[in-house]
Symmetry: C2
Subunit: 577 residues, 2 copies
């Protein structure tokens, strides 16, 4: 059969039987029907469902790879009676189809299949936890076909050259127990007195898109901060900087934040991407402070997704706040490319018996996304315990396109010693903040110095790990003059003056905690030092007063803000894994 | 510091301080000690632990890849009070070290570290489920250092140029919740009034070797069969064939098999491989018939490993027998290489509501090994439900190096029709077996014909899947003339006469169930047909009478035997994944 049949039993093969003396015995006619069947997806990742791609049943990473992509439908088509779309078993708005992957059953053949033959679409029990399939019956009619209650369903055969359109919905992200691959099969079943038998099966494979974080080097879209009864000065500083930079500012008001100002800690912005659709997705921390409702109630909406993980039978610690979850810019390490950067989290140092950690379900989730292979730093030496207390990344026009900024007590002692040597030993820190102290007093405090030597050793260990894991040279790192204080009760550290590394990065504009450092010739020596370190890179430093409303509460500008950024131009499926 | 110090505080840096009028103020001396530390493994996979490989902290597949390999220590060093070695927390015999991966801590520096400094070896809680570390204290003294009760341990610093030797033991195979990678870290800790701080950490990564199956095309080492009260004829046939082929024969006697003759079904032979050690490992089926004790009691021993999976809260079905677990020879499919072949299992057809399946824990295990990506066929149409009832592979000198043999009712009807046409319609099957039937009688039974059309459709579906998943052409497949009978009670099929595809393959010698087909000119027409199909490939057919003792019990030669084979020359870590 060289082509599909136009009519059932259209082709005939006549067989004549003869006896041994060549006498005619009888005649048999074999009726043949040829049907072309192809279950199709966008396996070449160009946004179009091509016909019968020879690689549609497998998945391969890389620019020469193949295999279709599925999004977790984790946004909410409507704000009214809001729910994440994956929690609904029906399609309530046609716009929801954009978040699904099209799948087309192309058939070619007679008007009807021979009697009793039928088409069955099917998935396995395991895959049904990760995927749901709808069929297009009309422009506004998309009934559910497959889900975990219905693993196989007969689908109509339309006859002639026809296309049946399906929409495939991803239900969950890759995780420890789910690599991300799902298979959908279509079988032609033959009638039989015995169980129906498949005579042909076609298969397609999807990979669920990972959740991807966005580093400081990506263009900001919108800045998020909280308004509280006591943070007017801070808000004013942020607003001025954001507006002059030309980005949007979104303020979370007190009825929603209930006094919880730590916008960095409750959420992490990321996105999901496919050849046909892309949208931001907020990861909600199991921290669950008073800001807890914000990501679901305010952020979740049409084309804005939501995902969370619930810590089970484990205590959630301060290390579960997302000031402890950052991502590097793109790097190459020993020849291995990380074009989407690497995730960075803070954990207990493993030789410590009773350290605090980021909860396992969140760590498992982060590792399972695979495309931004995480690095675990040691952050448990800090009272709050977040990596953003000692590190950040800023864009740079040269070298790798960025610098790693690290808090450095050593650098601070150098600045203070120079001040003393230049006759500014009596210059005061914290002027007007009611707890002034001179450079000389700081330098003469041996206990304080010992604490900072300890802090420096903790940061240095992380510095080594970051150099190794991100492939950095010394010249890729800038040490910022910051001092810490070790709190006697728990032998853990906090920033002594506003922690300048805990900044907000908006393009080349940096919003830095105003350090209230020693006043020399009418200006702050720490601000001067920061400018001299960062301005040569084309960066603009804005110092924002967060002293009373953030610093004294053990956080700073970065902890109190969050930035939604544009996604990477690089497509994750082009990664070589 | 350009080199390691020979003495503590060996290098000194003198700093002189001057006042503003250049008067000497004082003098400070900085004492420096340089220590070289490297935790080393065989990251280049040549069997030798090289020094400080720059890639030792990551793992990459392929001939240009890197990363050390760990074996699950699943053999038992002694037969006496036998236990799998992983269940022992101590090393009882030095020979056990061969099954572990060497890891060396190389240090260079003064006799002692400066006071209070120490070295700590550590692993994470998660990795501790998969790995254990021993240290060499003397030629016969290897105490445990790390396990899941002890995640970090101080290790001695020996001074000078010294090497401390560790042995790393893998505890579990890759599985659904374990990708196979483990990390071991070594930190230099600095004394402090505060928590001890790491000032340097070195890391190494291992991947646990997967369990690998061996296809029929690999050279046999030993053949296993059971002796029962009623299988003398069968044993005689097998013994003759095995001995003339020059392989070893191992008979499992009745006190051990307790009448359970299905040697194929209780176990599957495979192996694990590393650059330093390799040994066979038997996978014990959750089937657990009366042969249940055999793999643990008889096979497990020095350099013979054992692994099993226990079905949980799921009923074990006939599909859990390992006649339903096979592996193809090496293939290339759409440009993708499978140099270790692909695993083949049988499952229910997914559109069936209440089919039988291979239990999930075994399927998960097989998929997690990764290097022989499994293919699921449809075998639930058979009463016994094993893939070896309708398919096998034999070596061939041409094409892909093998042929796929498939049972084919169509091929059988062709043979029988030709016999009838050539005047042998009265030739009898089952001669001397007390249930003789003629070719004419078989051909005239329309119900029987309908059953075989149904069986052919089930095999044809699998044929399509195998062609697609193994990249086979028509010429790679040989259809063997075999008829089936559908049992009315459950609408599932059994072989009508001895199922010739269910053969034992020993190099080019095939042990085939003697079919007792129609006698034509003093020889069996089915045997003649088999020879004409297989002998042109250089294969020798030996027909073994398994009629009473296997066929009547719904199994055949393959079900009743098992073959331990040599491993692949190809190393699994050279796979491109």
């Amino acid at each position: 059969m060289g082509a599909a049949s136009k009519l059932p039993n259209e082709s005939k093969l006549s067989v004549k039987f003869y006896g041994s003396k060549k006498e005619a015995l009888g005649n048999a006619v074999l009726h043949l029907t040829a049907v072309e069947i192809s279950l199709d997806v966008d396996a070449d990742r160009d946004g179009i469902v091509e016909k019968n791609n020879s690689n549609k049943a497998s998945w391969k990473w890389g620019p020469n790879g193949h295999g279709a992509v599925l999004l977790v439908n984790c946004d909410s088509e409507s704000y009214y009676k809001k729910r994440v779309d994956t929690e609904k078993e029906e399609i309530s708005k046609v716009s929801d189809l954009k978040d699904m992957s099209r799948m087309i059953l192309r058939t070619s053949g007679p008007t009807q299949l021979p009697e009793g033959y039928k088409l069955s679409l099917h998935i396995t029990q395991t895959d049904a936890e990760s995927v749901r399939v709808f069929i297009r019956c009309g422009p506004l009619d998309y009934p559910l076909v497959l889900n975990k209650e219905q693993l196989a369903a007969e689908v109509p055969y339309l006859g002639g050259n026809s296309e049946l359109e399906f929409f495939v919905e991803g239900l969950r992200f890759p995780d420890k127990d789910f690599e991300g691959l799902v298979t959908i099969s279509l079988s032609l079943l033959e009638p039989s007195d015995f169980p129906e038998t498949p005579i042909f099966t076609d298969k397609v494979v999807f990979r669920v898109a990972p959740w991807i974080m966005t580093p400081n080097t990506l263009k900001p879209v919108e800045v998020f901060v909280c308004s509280t009864s006591d943070n007017y000065e801070f808000l004013k500083g942020i607003r001025k900087m954001v507006q002059s930079s030309g980005y949007k500012l979104k303020i979370c008001h007190e009825y929603m934040n209930r006094g919880d100002r730590w916008m960095q800690d409750e959420i992490e912005f990321g996105y999901i991407d496919s050849p046909h659709q892309r949208f931001p997705v907020v990861l909600d921390s199991p921290r669950d402070g008073d800001l807890q409702e914000f990501p679901y109630e305010v952020l979740l909406g049409p084309d804005f997704g939501y995902v969370t993980r619930y810590a089970q039978a484990e205590e959630v610690s301060s290390l579960d706040s997302f000031g402890n979850l950052e991502v590097s810019p793109p790097v190459t390490v020993n020849g291995k490319n990380y074009p989407l950067g690497r995730i960075i989290i803070g954990v207990a140092f493993p030789t410590t018996a009773h350290g605090r950690n980021m909860t396992k379900v969140v760590q498992d989730f982060l590792w399972a996304q695979k495309v931004q292979e995480p690095i675990a730093l040691y952050s448990d030496w800090l009272v709050v315990g977040h990596v953003d207390e000692f590190m950040t990344f800023v864009p740079a026009p040269d070298r790798k396109g960025f610098r790693l900024l690290l808090a450095s007590p050593d650098a601070a002692y150098t600045v203070f010693t120079n001040l003393q040597n230049n006759g500014h030993g009596k210059a005061k820190l914290f002027q007007g903040k009611g707890e002034e102290i001179s450079v000389n007093e700081i330098l003469s405090n041996e206990e304080f110095r010992a604490e900072n030597i300890y802090v420096q050793s903790c940061i240095d260990w992380n510095r080594d790990v970051l150099k190794k894991e991100l492939g950095l040279d010394e010249d890729d790192i800038i040490d910022l003059p910051i001092l810490f204080k070790v709190m006697a009760e728990e032998n853990r550290a906090v920033a002594y003056y506003p922690d300048m590394v805990n900044m907000i990065v908006l393009g080349t504009n940096l919003g830095i905690p105003k350090p209230f450092g020693p006043q020399v010739n009418g200006s702050c020596a720490l601000e001067t030092e920061m400018r001299s370190l960062l301005e040569p890179l084309g960066l603009n430093c804005t110092f924002i007063d967060d002293f009373a409303s953030y610093h004294k509460l053990l956080g700073e500008v970065h902890c109190g803000s969050n930035v939604l950024r544009e996604p990477f131009a690089f497509k994750w499926w082009n990664l070589e894994m």
